[in-house]
Symmetry: C2
Subunit: 350 residues, 2 copies
Amino acid sequence: MAFNPNEHQHVRYNPLRNEWILVSPHRTLRPWSGQVETAPLENIPAYDPSNPLCPGVKRASGLVTPIYESTYVFTNDFPALLENVPEPPSSDDPLFQAAPAGGTCRVMCFHPKSNVYLPTMKSEEVEAIIEEWINQMKDLGRKYQWVQIFENRGSMMGCSNPHPHCQIWASSFLPNEPKIKDENQRNYFKKYGRRMLEDYTKKELAKRERIVWENNEWVVVVPYWAVWPFETMVLPKRQIQRFADCDQSQKKELALTLQALVAKYDNLFKCSFPYSMGWHGAPTGDGLNEDQCHWTFHGIYYPPLLRSATVKKFMVGYEMLAQSQRDLTAEKAAAMLREQPEQHYSLSKP
Amino acid sequence: MAFNPNEHQHVRYNPLRNEWILVSPHRTLRPWSGQVETAPLENIPAYDPSNPLCPGVKRASGLVTPIYESTYVFTNDFPALLENVPEPPSSDDPLFQAAPAGGTCRVMCFHPKSNVYLPTMKSEEVEAIIEEWINQMKDLGRKYQWVQIFENRGSMMGCSNPHPHCQIWASSFLPNEPKIKDENQRNYFKKYGRRMLEDYTKKELAKRERIVWENNEWVVVVPYWAVWPFETMVLPKRQIQRFADCDQSQKKELALTLQALVAKYDNLFKCSFPYSMGWHGAPTGDGLNEDQCHWTFHGIYYPPLLRSATVKKFMVGYEMLAQSQRDLTAEKAAAMLREQPEQHYSLSKP
Ligand SMILES: O=P(O)(O)O[C@H]1O[C@H](CO)[C@@H](O)[C@H](O)[C@H]1O
Ligand SMILES: O=P(O)(O)O[C@H]1O[C@H](CO)[C@@H](O)[C@H](O)[C@H]1O
């Protein structure tokens, strides 16, 4: 029998994380009788006087959110990272090592209205979000080694406020995930003299097996090594190392890319598709003065849904203790997203 | 101001995984207004004629589960790993690497009754589970490089059947998690000439800051580098490399340890505490003939709950994209579990 990647189990290598994932396509036939989730919230009011992210509402800190008209950024009222805290003593025991962690956490509202989202906003409004992301990266990047912009969308992803917003956590240290990506991109560059993600982007554009969307500046793929069922990467066609390196054309086309991608996600199961997303680029702070030519700036989307608006993929036992596992192949997932219209389903209601 | 680990943010090092986690104890004050889970199921009937894991019931495969009286093991009807499948062609592109994956998946019922669990079973019944785990490790370990025994307990952890059971996935390859632990234990052994987890166990027994339970043979700790709020490790006091190395005394005391640990978990929020748990030891298959003296056999529990039976820790945005983060310190979590009685709350009802 000949090997068919859409039928036969195999492992795939993730060169960015230097690890393998198990792909078991035959297992898509498995019936699901386990936990179903509450369907994502719909029909959110444009303004809710009890929602602290809405313009003019008082927050837990006692401060009032101003009457903002575009994006609005403030310091998180319950930050995981504070700027100045006493430092742990150093230890010479390799099994009990603690180290200092400084930082700050901000919240960024995308829009004054609670009931709009990227695909239902005007593209100028999405451009304003991108512009503010870049401002924040520049501002916090002067001081901090890593600035993680991320969005938890939907209550399934731990988001407790339906108003469109993201978070920005900046830290004095390089966290694990970017550290691993830094090492692997650096090793590839040393070995081949080329950027890993530049090579990868070119090859995906040539193979055309996992592309979800593309325009002149950006391409969205379900990566060959994807773990989450509908995981995607947003890759630049022209190489840049950091968000702040985007030129006008890249910003404009990125707005259109994000609008199309999220519309496709939402259209897939006709719901507000939950995910965690964020941006990775070359380290900042001291990293601004170091050679970072191995880095390619990119976006990552990790959505938990598998079969419908209420059935997610559980990353549990085997995945936590042994290795990531997926049933649906990356190629199948990419085709399903690619086939979705770029217009959000809510806009085509009669 | 002096550094207080129960108050001031810091990062801690996990030597088994060679990574850091962010600890933000001040953040325990954060109110929770996000998603609450359905409370874990209680009042399960002892026998359910429609449950394929109950004795005498027909399964999806058409086979009938026999009238078993202790444990019962069968091959999963929807296995992620099959024994014989065509192999992917080899590729010389470092960005598109696939490799063969052979294996098998089994299901192991712990007991003929659906309404009992480790702390409410007789200790002889728990000993029978341990004996069968060891049989399975020996049987599958002859052929396969890794045998992952794991249990997903509760629907919050993707478990779709309330009958007490676990799974056993054996593979022709060494999965990521054990590969990482193998490397780090090996490096430590090379550097210090001693086993990492033997040193760690001795130090935890001396420090007495993170111990949840101990008897003559075993100690349960919330590891210094724990990620999940109530994560624990089950460590042997006398070194062994694999489950199959347990002697009679270790088996008997392990049964009592698991009964006490799960009772404490269940007593904490007065519910059937969800978790994924499993066992890690030296690789099998070809690994049986290699030097594995750097390995210490141990158990791992990853429970998702944070504040109550219905509020879990969300490992999302920052955790997925940057670094694991916890609020509650390992020391506080260990104290909370240590204080719980060893008798299951359901047994003390009037
Ligand atoms: O027990 P099941 O239904 O086969 O499946 C469960 O455990 C598996 C192994 O951890 C996971 O891959 C699945 O996502 C989960 O639902
Ligand atoms: O947005 P919140 O409420 O601060 O918190 C949410 O995102 C954080 C960052 O990913 C996580 O640590 C929390 O577990 C999650 O609930």
